[in-house]
């Protein structure tokens, strides 16, 4: 007996679609009443996304247009304040973006080329190490830089190098150069991942075909490899550009002390001192800058010459022999990886143990970890194990991570399901667009938007500012694009042939759910949820504006401690964040047996 009619969209069958379809066929009158199947579901998802994502963005825009607030635009863009308010920060932001994008493509591209196309030794290790820096929050790298290179210019403790007797020049200790270096060290792994994945699809036949013509190495590189990899280079550049202009932690820790402002730090400052409308205007401008470059990068990649998928049968991997350059290039690659992963983490750990950051490796004590309050050290702050504020921050941070991991995964699965089940139609298109909107919005601007939306009471609803709920809602909305991607992958794994072949055996819905759907989906779902957890635990830019002392978060506390000169506390807290996120990331990798095609021989 066949109970299930063919689905109108052919495939895309899945758990929920089963419920719908079998209900339809079992109960005709119900189906007839339900004129356009899925309309209700689609509308509900659209409303949910609108509230989560579109509403804060519209609200922040609306807030700047309100009577009385309108002048914020002219203050920012055309007044005697605008040079310091907007144009100088914009210039710094663009320099950072361009510099970081260039550096990341060079470093990430170099490592990707080595790992994917050459016979460099320990390729797997380098490939793995090169993906790690992105897991270390950028404020951790920035703090580590400070512990090493801080000089006496802004007062407070000096760093390790000055402690050794070197004189660190200002340009190396503060401002643009260290910010650039720290951001490149953080974002190059993003470029690496994108470029390595693209190079891995370059069939070595393409290179051999060029060798057959007699072209030299240089000509093959410039004429074949580079053009084929160009879309990936552009993608890497635009992603890292957007990342750099949105980054708050590095310019705030390394630039603000010497008054180097970016749009992100300026926006933070405006909202902190109560000039919310000016802050909102800056947030809108920051969104425009970041979104423009992502959009432009995407335009270059898509188009007629998008050649990601060319017939690939029979391709074999033949590695480029480096010859005598093999060892020097290996050492160079390893140095890059170690300097951006092991070294900053080691500095942070050492610094959290050393009484003075000018002597990182002597007189170690656990005071900053477990010490009781001592008026002689750090104005009587107790070690983090005895500090009620920090303990509660740990609880809030982990609680937030877990809650958002669930809520975002749920929203992501729901959206992905609706998109897979109902592909066409205006509502689906709108759902698709809105669900990816947060990708274009820098975290700090998104935070500002939520301050604008929920910072004040809406009708009978109380203001949510300072509540756990606000953090959950904002973080969930911010991670919707990522969660949707995970959801899509899960639904793809489960839907279609696998479920249909189980249905052909006559297995009922519940049985298929337990025997096919759940076992296939559980790993992907939990890995996705874990990564959401990590993203929240180590996030600073989104939550820095939503932070209140009643709802402390580890990353914000670390930032505050660092700004106040309590370097060791900041570093110790950062180590806690690192440990939590690394443990969760490793678990997630295990769960999804992470696919890294460029590491396969």
């Amino acid at each position: 007996m066949i109970r299930v009619p063919p689905s109108p969209s052919g495939r895309g069958a899945s758990v929920l679609s089963d419920i719908l379809m079998s209900t339809q066929s079992r109960n005709r009158s119900f189906k007839d009443a339900f004129l356009s199947p899925g309309l209700g579901l689609k509308a509900a998802v659209l409303v949910l996304l609108t509230v989560l994502v579109a509403a804060p963005l519209l609200k922040v825009f609306g807030a700047t247009l309100a009577p009385g607030a309108w002048s914020a635009w002219s203050d920012v863009l055309a007044s005697n304040l605008s040079r310091n308010l907007f144009w100088l920060p914009l210039a710094n932001t663009m320099i950072l973006g361009a510099g970081v994008a260039t550096g990341c493509v060079l470093v990430g591209g170099f490592l990707a080329w080595l790992v994917v196309m050459t016979d460099v030794p320990f390729r797997r290790t380098i490939g793995l190490l090169a993906t790690l820096p992105f897991m270390i929050p950028s404020f951790a790298t920035a703090l580590a830089w400070g512990s090493l290179f801080r000089n006496a210019r802004v007062g407070g403790q000096i760093g390790f190098l000055e402690g050794l007797g070197f004189s660190v020049p200002d340009w190396l200790a503060w401002g643009m150069v260290p910010t650039l270096v720290v951001l490149i060290a953080h974002y190059y792994s993003l470029a690496f991942t994108v470029i390595a994945a693209a190079l891995a699809t370059v069939n070595s036949d393409l290179v051999e075909a060029a060798q057959m013509t007699g072209a030299g190495r240089r000509r093959i590189f410039l004429g074949i490899i580079l053009p084929v990899a160009l879309p990936a280079l552009v993608a890497g550049a635009s992603l890292t550009f957007a990342g750099a202009v949105s980054n708050f932690a590095a310019p705030a820790l390394l630039g603000l002390p010497v008054r180097m402002q970016t749009l992100a730090t300026r926006l933070y400052g405006m909202i902190e001192i109560g000039q919310a409308e000016r802050g909102y205007v800056l947030a809108i401008l920051l969104i425009l800058v970041s979104a423009f470059f992502l959009w432009a990068g995407n335009r270059v990649i898509s188009g007629r010459r998008s050649y990601a998928t060319i017939t690939g049968k029979g391709g074999r991997a033949k590695r480029f022999a480096l010859g005598t350059a093999r060892l020097p290039l290996f050492v160079a690659a390893l140095s890059i990886c170690v300097l951006t992963t092991v070294v900053p983490v080691a500095i942070l750990i050492a610094s959290s143990l050393a009484p003075s950051s000018s002597a990182l490796f002597s007189d170690w004590s656990l005071h900053y970890w477990i010490g009781a309050s001592d008026p002689a050290i750090a104005r009587g702050q107790a070690g983090i194990w005895n500090n009620p504020l920090i303990l509660s921050a740990t609880g809030v941070t982990v609680g937030l991570g877990v809650t958002v991991a669930f809520s975002a995964s749920l929203v992501g699965l729901l959206v992905a399901f609706v998109l897979a089940r109902f592909r066409s139609g205006f509502l689906s298109a709108a759902i698709n667009q809105i669900s990816f909107l947060p990708l274009l919005v820098p975290g700090i601007a998104f935070g500002a938007a939520y301050v604008a939306l929920l910072g004040a009471p809406i009708g009978p609803l109380p203001a949510l500012y300072g509540t756990f709920l606000l953090l959950v809602v904002a973080a969930t909305a911010y991670l919707v694009p990522f969660a949707v991607q995970t959801g899509r992958a899960v639904i793809q794994q489960v839907s279609g042939d696998l479920d249909e072949s189980a249905r052909m055996t006559g297995a009922g819905f519940l049985r298929r759910l337990l025997a096919i759907t759940v076992p296939l989906a559980i790993r992907g779902l939990s890995a996705g949820a874990l990564i959401v957890f990590v993203k929240i635990v180590r996030d600073l830019s989104l939550v820095v504006l939503l932070f209140t002392p009643t709802m402390p978060l580890l990353s914000v506390l670390a930032y505050r401690y660092a700004s106040d000169g309590f370097t060791q506390f900041a570093n110790a807290l950062t180590v806690v964040v690192l440990v939590i996120s690394v443990a969760a990331t490793l678990l997630a990798n295990r769960l999804q047996a992470k696919s890294q095609p460029w590491l396969q021989s």
């Binding site: 393409l206 060029a210 057959m212 007629r304 017939t311 049968k313 029979g314």
Partner: protein, 348 residues
């Protein structure tokens, strides 16, 4: 034109090519055929200069181009050879015309000569209207033609093909066989063609090397392979349908059906499908198998039976009315047309 002398290729502990020697004259169409992993593609890549032999030599027109013993290999571009890859390896960022033009540009031809030559080969392959398209905008068969056009544009003396038709559907494959032979004749070159499909080998080749386990089982013309297979492997690999082998134990087929003509030997007897007939009843010259399939071909019918390891095919004149579960009685001719020793080599 092409001389290969005791060629070996070792990958780690795996010996992919184990002492291959052959030579073909100018204008020959040499096909290397065999199951996957038999070493045929490795030989082709050594001919192209993309791999170096572990030992042995390759010479083109009397000039040594690879010498494994001395670790000496002439680079691919200076061998006067072109290669069509199984994946086609079209450069995705160049148009069809750009793909064909690039090798000429590298060779240093001036613009007018290049334009003229690109036009010529586009016409030869009948793809002139695709010149400005990108590889991802054309079909598999068209990509195949572009790959061939790109190879022949610099007028190489040796054309190398690595399973070029394996990504095409059956009908297109038949068409492209003819097309490839036309190109081969038009260019007056010597071709080496690698495939696992014996039909391609039998229809296209002037010379065939049947390969198995890194060695040549037999090197001969297609006709010779069918008429006088040197080994049991060749007998069951070539021909449509291939020949039948019946095991012989102590002078009896399958150890049961004694035959004085076998004179007490062991090994296997070869019967061509057209030599077997179907009998109504079992007799002392029939082997009984279970009916497997029947398929009409060219006005006659191919009937196959199977039992245990034994699989026999006979050609009959009309479609028999067997159904699954029936037994088929294959009638043996008075004597096998060939006999192979237990080692699989043809006995005199």
């Amino acid at each position: 034109m092409i001389q290969i002398e005791s060629l070996h290729k070792q990958f780690g502990s795996y010996e992919a090519v184990q002492g291959v020697s052959l030579s073909v004259p100018k204008g020959a169409f040499l096909v290397l055929v065999g199951p996957s992993g038999c070493g045929k593609s490795t030989i082709l890549r050594m001919l192209a200069g993309l791999e170096a032999p572990t030992s042995g030599t390759i010479a083109f027109g009397g000039k040594t181009v690879s010498d494994g013993g001395r670790g000496w290999v002439i680079e691919p571009s200076r061998r006067d050879a072109g290669l069509v890859f199984q994946s086609y390896a079209l450069w995705p960022h160049m148009t069809v015309a750009g793909n064909i033009d690039w090798p000429l540009k590298v060779a240093g031809l001036d613009r007018d000569k290049r334009r003229e030559r690109v036009g010529e080969v586009l016409d030869l392959l009948g793809i002139g209207q695709l010149a400005d398209r990108y590889p991802n905008e054309i079909s598999g068969g068209q990509q195949q033609r572009v790959a061939i056009a790109r190879m022949i544009a610099p007028k190489p003396g040796i054309l190398l093909f690595d399973e070029p038709l394996s990504n095409l559907d059956a009908k297109l494959r038949v068409e492209m066989r003819t097309e490839l032979l036309r190109v081969h004749r038009a260019t007056d070159a010597t071709s080496v063609y690698v495939t696992h499909d014996q039909v391609e080998a039998m229809t296209m080749a002037t010379h065939v090397a049947v390969m198995n386990g890194g060695r040549i089982e037999q090197f001969a013309s297609p006709g010779e392979l069918v008429v006088r297979p040197r080994t049991a492997f060749v007998a069951t690999f070539v021909g449509t349908p291939p020949a039948n082998l019946v095991p012989v134990v102590n002078g009896a087929y399958c150890g049961r059906l004694a035959d004085a003509a076998l004179a007490g030997r062991n090994g296997s007897a070869m019967f061509r499908p057209e030599e077997l007939t179907l009998a109504e009843k079992p007799s002392d010259r029939t082997l009984t198998l279970d009916y497997a399939e029947a398929s009409p071909m060219a006005g006659r019918v191919m009937v196959t039976g199977i039992r245990g390891d034994l699989r026999l095919t006979a050609i009959t004149d009309s479609l028999p009315s067997f159904s699954v579960g029936d037994e088929v009685h294959f009638q043996l001719p008075p004597a096998p047309s060939m006999f192979f020793t237990p080692e699989g080599v043809r006995a005199q």
